[in-house]
Amino acid sequence: MQGPLLLTVITFLPLAGALALLILRREDRLWIRRLALTTALAELGLSLLLLRGFLPGVAAYQFEEYRSWIATPPIHYHLGVDGISLFLVLLTTFLTPLAVLASWRSITSRVREFFLMLLVLETGMIGVFLALDLFLFFVFWEVMLVPMYFLIGIWGHERRIYAALKFVLYTMAGSVLMLVGILWLYNLTGTFDLPVMQALLQTGQVLLNTRTEMLLFGAFFLAFAIKVPLFPLHTWLPDAHVEAPTAGSVVLAGVLLKMGAYGMLRFCLPLFPEASHRLAPYIAVLAIIGIIYGALVAMVQPDLKKLVAYSSVSHLGFVVLGIFAFNATSIQGALYQMLSHGVSTGALFLAVGMLYDRRHTHLIREFGGLATPMPVFSALFLFVCLSSLGLPMLNGFVGEFLILLGTFQQHARWAVWAATGVILSAVYLLWAYQRVIYGDVTSENNRALPDATRRERIILFTAAAVILWMGIASPMFTRRMEASTQNVLKQMQRSTAYEARDSRGAAPRAIQPAIPSAGER
């Protein structure tokens, strides 16, 4: 099981690539791009090794690495991967090469710095998913802000500086409180190590009183809720997404938002089950508001990129709802939705970015009838839209279906409200698609637009292939997630107390996941 340093290599390879970029002269743009792409692809290859070596059906962390880092207080360099983080790492390594490719031509100033930031960002993101020491987790969590800040602030659009500052300040406000929460937990448990902390809390060796648990939950949850973002903390998102360059939006929507949901799944639920249960109804209400509100706001956006941004608020609402329904099916659905949203929304942003490269605008009314000049692009764009709105056989459907199914088993009313979001997403996506692609060519500027280039086709076809694959071969994924998602619910069981909730918490574990894992064999 002890993968020799595989996780360390995966975490720091992009950083090494970033430093290697510094050796190149800043004029050698082609080589800079090639080196960045090579690093990103090598990283993807390594993460596939991880996938191959990963044992499905094991709930424990795999490929663990454990080394002492700081003596006082005891902080360890502790990495590990389980069914929850495995696919998020893969999502990161999958989206980064696409982001590099998407920036191939559209980034023309300070090319070296751009790819440097992108690769440093990748190290930060992977570190967040792999860290099992709370201190280490926080370090990666915060470090990641810096490259993202530069990506938005230097290579973004008109209001980039405002958006970059807003993004950083919002995130920092949450994370500083999380740091206090981490320290408080350390004070109570004497460790920063997540598995140890988990065991201490679960076996009742360390008991949190209700007030402490609620406060700690709040400190963690706020940071994650800002990142997700949960309504009403979402206001940084449209600005950051719209102003970021395409690669930035892809990574932001594809991976960064998932960190919030990942944090809830990894920390909030297992460490603070009582507070989670108590606050779940309120959080679910916010999530449902987010689903519907995000969809409605997306519907009326005149700006295509903003529309995609608000659709993220809506989709991530599903994820939060699925997590806080405390049901094996819904949690698995939430994790699946995280992945498929990463791929679909990433692809949407890539497609929007291609339009922007041609016309330097995101406004829907500037387009119309693009099917005529750009048939290949239009077909692929439709495919991506359909996956985002949850068409069966494509990836978006699996996640949403599992979430709604699991939530329905627990709280039928939540599921009913949330289901409206599925309908609304079809409305805003198809309507926008219709206005952009169908009809007559309304603007002369659009008549001679070139269709997708070879590079763009590679990007979109790759995304489409993964979308289709995730839609039809979902058991391949769920089989590896299953043990870990169920483990989250198991970790929420405390050995003492909480009898009243045990009956409720235990019930869903008896229910088989909606898609039997045997399906793949």
């Binding site: 880092w69 700081i70 003596a71 006082t72 207080p73 300070r110 926080f138 370090v139 990666f140 915060e142 470090v143 802000l145 810096v146 800040y149 530069f150 602030g153 230097i154 980039r160 500086i161 970059a164 500052l165 950083v168 300040l169 920092m172 406000a173 500083v176 409180l177 740091l179 206090v180 320290l183 408080w184 350390y186 004070n187």
Partner: protein, 488 residues
């Protein structure tokens, strides 16, 4: 009467600093004007040897001069800090003095004397000795602040510093007198016993209050911080770097010795004072820094805010001064001082380098497009700023982390929350400078100044130190913990 040889060992760093300071002054008249810049060689030798001489007291710990000084790990830790600051000041000022056409001889002598004073403050186990150390370092600093004689701002800076500083030391002296009147001793350990036996009357509390006022001036904590921005702005840039680092660390050392050795038993009397001052200082520094347009002033306000963070850790110790856990708090202060000195010194040196002749490029907007014009300078300054802001992988983060940890450990929840809020507020103005450097186009043509070798070395050392402490704080933290243990 010749003091015993061990006592001389224990005073070795100060003797070296003073000896070389006088040597530089003696050499000065014999060196022709063209060769004056070579005076930096004996000055640098003095600073380096003084720093190295810390090994002697480290090998001979204990009380010196009948208990006036006490050499312990705590004192060694501070000696390392102030000695390093002296080395950095000499390195960074050689070319500055030449560029600004300032006489180097007296400058170096004053820097070395000031460092000797700071060293004494770090080991003073007796109030009058502490006062003498404070005066030695202060008087040298007053002169240094006004070293650009023909610049009105520099004169203003020196005048303000001198007037307010004199008031502060007078308060401090008054406080000592009252403490002596109440207990009949100025030795901190005797004071501790007196306090423990219940001699802590109103007079002693008043004395403590006055001493706190005096030291609050020196470390620039609210409500006695008002002088800082004017003095820092007007003083020559290497002097600003010195003022913001060395004397502050030394004054905090003296403050800690007085509070944690002399007045542990009456922590109830000072805990709330420190608590309130910490809260006020953080807000006063950060809120004012938000609206600054001059980089030097902004950094001055930010150093006020940092003093506030340090007070948070001191307040954390105040909740349980006798407890073994208070060690974590004291160690947090010491570690913070080490990180703070590194990043602040680096930032001020960078600003001085970018300022150019006559220090004209100080407006934040003047940094527009710096990242394209001088990418390494921009990257370096960003590193210091991110460290001041407290982002991980930099020293500033771990400094803040240990302070947070100490405060959480002492259940100072509100103070922790105030500090958290302040960290976010501070993020805004540090990031603003980065925004200007990286995200704005240049508005005015600035000819990049060639970076002199000494300055480059200072920048390299501080940047490397900032990263080293951010990644591997273990060794320094270990030393800080031993220092904290040695204090009791």
């Amino acid at each position: 009467m010749v003091p015993p040889i061990d006592d001389l060992y224990r005073l070795a760093p100060e003797l070296v600093f003073c000896g070389f300071g006088m040597l530089v002054m003696l050499l000065e008249p014999f060196v022709s004007a063209a060769r004056k810049k070579w005076l930096s060689v004996p000055a640098l030798a003095g600073a380096v040897l003084g720093l190295a001489a810390t090994a002697l007291p480290a090998a001979h710990p204990g009380a010196a001069y009948y208990g006036l000084l006490r050499i312990d790990t705590f004192s060694i830790f501070l000696h390392l800090i102030v000695g390093a600051v002296a080395v950095l000041v000499v390195l960074s000022s050689a070319d500055y003095l030449e560029r600004e056409k300032l006489p180097p001889g007296e400058f170096y002598a004053l820097v070395l004397f000031a460092t000797a004073g700071m060293g004494i403050m770090a080991s003073a186990q007796e109030l009058m000795t502490g006062f003498i150390g404070l005066e030695i370092s202060s008087i040298a600093s007053y002169v240094l602040a006004g070293y650009r004689r023909d610049s009105p701002r520099s004169n203003e800076s020196a005048m303000k510093y001198f007037l307010l500083g004199s008031f502060a030391t007078a308060f401090f002296l008054y406080g000592i007198a009252m403490a002596y009147g109440a207990t009949g001793t100025t030795n901190l350990e005797s004071l501790r016993n007196a306090v423990a036996q219940g001699h802590a009357g109103g007079l002693l509390t008043l004395g403590l209050g006055l001493m706190l006022v005096g030291l609050a001036f020196k470390v620039a904590t609210a409500p006695f911080q008002v002088w800082t921005p004017d003095v820092y702005e007007g003083a020559p840039a290497p002097v600003t770097a010195l003022l913001a680092s060395g004397p502050k660390a030394a004054a905090f050392a003296l403050l800690m010795r007085i509070l944690f050795v002399g007045f542990t038993a009456s922590s109830g009397a000072w805990f709330w004072v420190v608590w309130i001052s910490a809260a006020l200082t953080m807000f006063a520094g950060n809120l004012a820094a938000l609206v600054q347009t001059n980089v030097k002033r902004m950094l001055a306000y930010s150093s006020i805010a940092h003093a506030g963070y340090i007070l948070v850790a001191i307040a954390a110790v105040g909740t349980m001064p006798d407890d073994a856990q208070s060690v974590a708090g004291i160690a947090a202060v010491l570690f913070y001082l080490a990180t703070y000195v590194l990043m602040k010194f680096g930032a001020f040196t960078m600003v001085s380098q970018l300022g150019g002749p006559g220090e004209r490029r100080l407006d934040i907007n003047g940094y527009a497009g710096l990242s394209q014009e001088q990418p390494w300078a921009a990257a370096c300054l960003s590193l210091y700023l991110l460290s001041l802001l407290g982002l991980p992988v930099t020293a500033g983060f771990l400094g803040k982390f240990y302070v947070f940890k100490a405060a959480v450990n002492s259940n100072l929840l509100w103070l922790v929350i105030l500090m958290a809020v302040n960290s976010v507020v501070a993020a805004y103005y540090y990031l603003r400078v980065i925004v200007v450097m990286y995200m704005r186009e240049p508005q005015q043509e600035w000819t990049p100044q060639p970076v002199p070798r000494g300055v480059a070395l200072v920048l390299l050392l501080t940047a490397a130190g900032t990263l080293y402490l951010g990644l591997f704080p273990g060794k320094v933290m270990q030393l800080a913990i031993q220092s904290a243990l040695s204090l009791r």
